[in-house]
């Protein structure tokens, strides 16, 4: 299996141009403001929109995410093809990905915000997001406490390393991007036709 991280370094003709120093921090600030702004405008800082998605009443979250994936994916793979960006791939580990994912989902249903949308929610004056953020900080520390013992056990289960969908499909990345873009667009068309919001 190709390690995408290594593949990037091999094709890197021009180094990507990360902004350094104070400029980097200012970039984080500007991008963060834009992210929170978009989340709030997209309604995904609202409790009813997020819990509505988990109750399968309101499909806004799915529409935002799938559109972001289509647009983001096409641009990132295009830029990566010309060695303008690095990919940032986390390893596929079935145990942690699945169990962690399910635990995350349970917490998501209880709060009605996620780590990013809680920030947008707080900004829009939904003060209950503060409790969720306090819980997120506490939970992060609890994880750090247990991480040492999880490393030897659960976190090793089902470790496949860095795997991309093109590796699974055994087609090149361009073809994979087209396939996923078509499937997600079809899903969006179905949502647009059958859902109220």
């Amino acid at each position: 299996m190709i390690d995408p991280g290594k593949a990037v370094k091999n094709v890197s003709v021009n180094e990507p141009t990360p902004v350094a120093g104070p400029a980097k921090l200012i970039a984080g600030l500007i991008f963060g403001i834009a992210f929170g702004f978009l989340l709030q405008k997209g309604g995904v800082g609202k409790y009813n929109v997020l819990i509505g998605q988990l109750l399968l009443q309101d499909w806004t979250v799915a529409k935002v995410m799938m559109t972001a994936i289509i647009v983001g994916m096409i641009g990132i793979f295009f830029l990566h093809r010309f060695a303008k960006v690095n990919l940032h791939i986390k390893p596929t580990q079935l145990g942690p990905n699945i169990i962690g994912g399910l635990i995350f989902g349970a917490g998501f249903a209880l709060i009605g915000y996620c780590p990013g949308t809680a920030a947008a929610a707080l900004g829009q004056g939904s003060w209950d997001a503060l409790f969720g953020m306090a819980g997120l900080i506490a939970g992060s520390f609890i994880y750090a406490e247990f991480n040492g013992s999880l490393r030897g056990t659960l976190e090793k289960w089902g470790d496949f390393g860095k795997v991309l969908i093109p590796d699974l499909l055994r087609v090149n990345r361009g073809v994979s991007v087209v396939i996923i873009a078509v499937l997600l667009t079809a899903a969006l068309l179905v949502l647009e036709k059958f859902t109220v919001r």
């Binding site: 990507p16 990360p18 902004v19 980097k24 970039a27 991008f31 963060g32 992210f35 929170g36 978009l38 989340l39 405008k41 309604g43 995904v44 609202k46 409790y47 988990l54 399968l56 009443q57 935002v64 995410m65 647009v71 983001g72 641009g75 303008k84 960006v85 791939i89 986390k90 942690p96 990905n97 399910l102 995350f104 349970a106 917490g107 249903a109 709060i111 009605g112 996620c114 780590p115 990013g116 920030a119 947008a120 900004g123 829009q124 004056g125 939904s126 969720g132 819980g135 997120l136 900080i137 992060s140 520390f141 609890i142 991480n147 969908i165 994979s176 079809a186 899903a187 969006l188 919001r197």
Partner: protein, 195 residues
Amino acid sequence: MGRALSCLLALVPTVALAAADPKLNALNYPGPTWSPYLVGAGIGVLSWLTFYFSDKPIGASSFYATVAGAIGKVFARRHTESLPYYQDNPPKFGWETLFVPAAILGGFIAAWTGGDFTNEWLHPMWVARFGESIALRAGVCLGGGILMAFGARLAGGCTSGHGISGTLQLNVASWIAVICFFIGGIAVAMPLYFL
């Protein structure tokens, strides 16, 4: 295709349940002020910019781990520094530390310019189901936050890091994680509201 099919199947219980009590129907409360497709496209373009200019994917959950580590160092410095997680991910001020607080500001600007500022401790849909107690909401959020952060760290990311940045890179881990986020979420939210 699996996604599309599950969407169709999901409509049946949705219609039946929504008819039961209008106060428990998310659609009876205000939704997005902009088109979700416009916002989604905007987030997609934003991820091009963060990759290109900052060499970073959009992500939120690691911010909370950094804050937790910084607080831990104040109260129990040696213990915090001895934890393997913080040895690998030392809590230091950087791009991510600014990103989430900046998102709070961005949320404020968006709500303020859109006449959408809520100024409320409890959402009316929560009140309709669980009553007026702020303490109950605080307890549930605290517990939910603990589960959510633990799950995010275990899975390797949250709805931003895996759900958007990972999936758009076609990372298999992220597609598995995001599907599990929603399976877990639906499995808990449904009984919470409809049992």
